[in-house]
């Protein structure tokens, strides 16, 4: 159970990461806004609490693995990695610029603290499952490492996703924990209109996964879900995180039109002002 102090610390950290995300998107002049802001609390929870990792040693062999399948929300991952100490926060200004390590979608060869390149949707979960199976091959039941994979709701429309889901169920990859960013938006509208996923939990259950649903902005609920997932002995776990796209910025929240656009100067100023005001109340 997270202490009040820990929850406050994570909330403050998430607020700072959201501000950095707005700032980097403003300078980049392109990129995705709503997804990163919606997942910031979960990014923060993992990089500032749950993950076994060391920002000073990104290649530490014993680290947990974190796979971002929906690579387009990387502005949020980059801001989190910078605040966690993987690279200077200043470097966020290079997002999407020529020669930058911070590519529009993550590029593993250039940025070693991401575990895989991603962007084309639907293939991250299978890669994470491959990692989980490799670890089991090497360590069997004594494997202590966890493989975490973030996927989006929209990319569950990809066939590759379901191939990976079936595969992880077959191999009983209990060391694999997947988090779905269920914000119900995609580029052209609502997921529930474009290609509905419901009944989503039942789908995963029928593929032999353990399913937990949480509020994606409730640190204690996320923590309890992850702890429960870690205790599973013969099933992979999916945490369906209900998130608010654009979370923390009033005009972006729940508006699918912010899926793939950055704020302009005026909009960014308003967003930062709102976030600063919110920070004062934490």
């Amino acid at each position: 159970m997270l202490t009040d102090e820990k929850v406050r610390e994570l909330t403050l950290q998430a607020n700072a990461i959201r501000q950095s995300t707005i700032e980097e998107l403003l300078l980049a002049k392109s990129g995705h806004s709503a997804g990163p802001l919606g997942m910031t609390d979960i990014f923060t929870y993992f990089y500032f609490h749950a993950l076994r990792h060391d920002p000073k040693r990104p290649d530490w062999a014993e680290r947990d693995r974190f796979v971002l399948s929906n690579g387009h929300i990387c502005p949020g991952l980059y801001a989190t990695l910078a605040h966690a100490g993987y690279f200077p926060v200043e470097e966020l200004k290079t997002l999407r610029k020529l020669g930058s390590r911070l590519q529009g979608h993550p590029h593993r060869e250039w940025l070693s603290c991401v575990e895989t390149s991603s962007g084309p949707l639907g293939s991250g979960l299978s890669q994470a499952a491959g990692m989980a199976l490799a670890d089991k091959m090497d360590y069997g039941a004594t494997a202590t490492r966890h493989i975490y994979c973030f996927i989006s709701d929209g990319e569950l429309q990809e066939g590759n996703s379901w191939e990976g889901i079936m595969f992880a169920g077959k191999y009983k990859l209990n060391n694999l924990i997947t988090v779905i960013d269920y914000n119900n938006i995609q580029i052209e509208g609502l997921v529930s209109d474009i290609m509905p996923l419901e009944p989503l939990a039942d789908k995963w259950k029928s593929f032999n996964w353990h399913v937990i649903e949480v509020d994606g902005h409730d640190f204690r609920a996320i923590d309890e879900a992850v702890e429960q997932a870690k205790s599973m002995s013969a099933q992979p776990t999916v945490i369906i995180a209900h998130t608010i796209p654009g979370k923390g910025v009033s005009y972006m929240e729940r508006n699918y039109k912010w899926h793939g656009n950055p704020p302009n100067a005026e909009q960014a100023a308003q967003a930062i002002a709102e976030l600063k005001e919110a920070a004062l109340k934490i």
Binding site: H107, E109, T116, G122, S126, G130
Partner: protein, 332 residues
Amino acid sequence: MINPNLKLNPKIWNDDVEMLPIRHGFGEGLLKAAETDESIVGICADLTESTKMNLFADKFPKRFVQVGVAEQNLVTVASGMAAMGKFPFVSSYAMFSPGRNWEQIRTTICYNNVPVVVAGSHAGISVGPDGGTHQALEDIALMRVLPNMIVLTPCDAIEARKATLAIAKLRKPAYIRLAREKSPVITTEETPFEIGKAQVLFETDGLAHVGVIACGALVHGAMRAAQKLEKEGIRVKVMNIGTIKPLDVEAIVALAKETKSLVTVEEHQIAGGLGSAVAECLASTVPTPIEFVGMKDKYGESGSPAELVEHFEMGTTAIIEAIRRAVDRKQK
């Protein structure tokens, strides 16, 4: 005449020349490589026996992964395992892998630059009666456009085994193209093999009139064509391209300079395959007329392998005609 330095099969012209499917060499090579490299894992999409990965799976069941009929998952699981230090070999039919999962190979293997070997079996028209849906005639094109990818096209089962062992040592992203049907064994255990090196299998006494550059199971037909024309006084060198990428530019340029007229031979669409690779190479070095033997922008159909190779004009007769055209173009 047969190049004596390469220690080729002395029975190469005999009716009882040993016939083996090229894919067998892959299966044997994988098994042998896995005996010394414990990081090697095998992943298959429900075609373990057809792709001869069963040799590995039987010996190393704990290192074998069955993904079912799911080629996109096949290569993405492989990418994840490679990220953890494994060296995956994945096999299916070329039509499905790399046919169906090209983007996953591009992003998660080549762009990530992780060591995964994609083995595409049943490539080419010689798949036979399964018909056009199953005859991969585009796979070389799909794979050779990818940065970081090595593309191997062994000409027989022995070369396929050597190519598999060589790529296992190299530990880089690679595609190895395999054929289903039995084809003559051209090389021997003693024949040298090196990734990126082309070899002139059929030599001439004096400068050659035409050079034939071939790959895969059609190399034997190309040699047979050269042998027949030798009797008419037309001197033809036949070069085997075991590696399409990286291409042996030096050897191809040397052959072009000597012959000033070439023929390329492949069981693949003319667009984008070996012939295209050779043309790209020569257009920027030694512009040379080329006659292309391959699939002419069509799909295949059911039939016996030998019938299909002849029907679609990739057999010895078609190669001889192409060589004659190459001679004519030179004289003009």
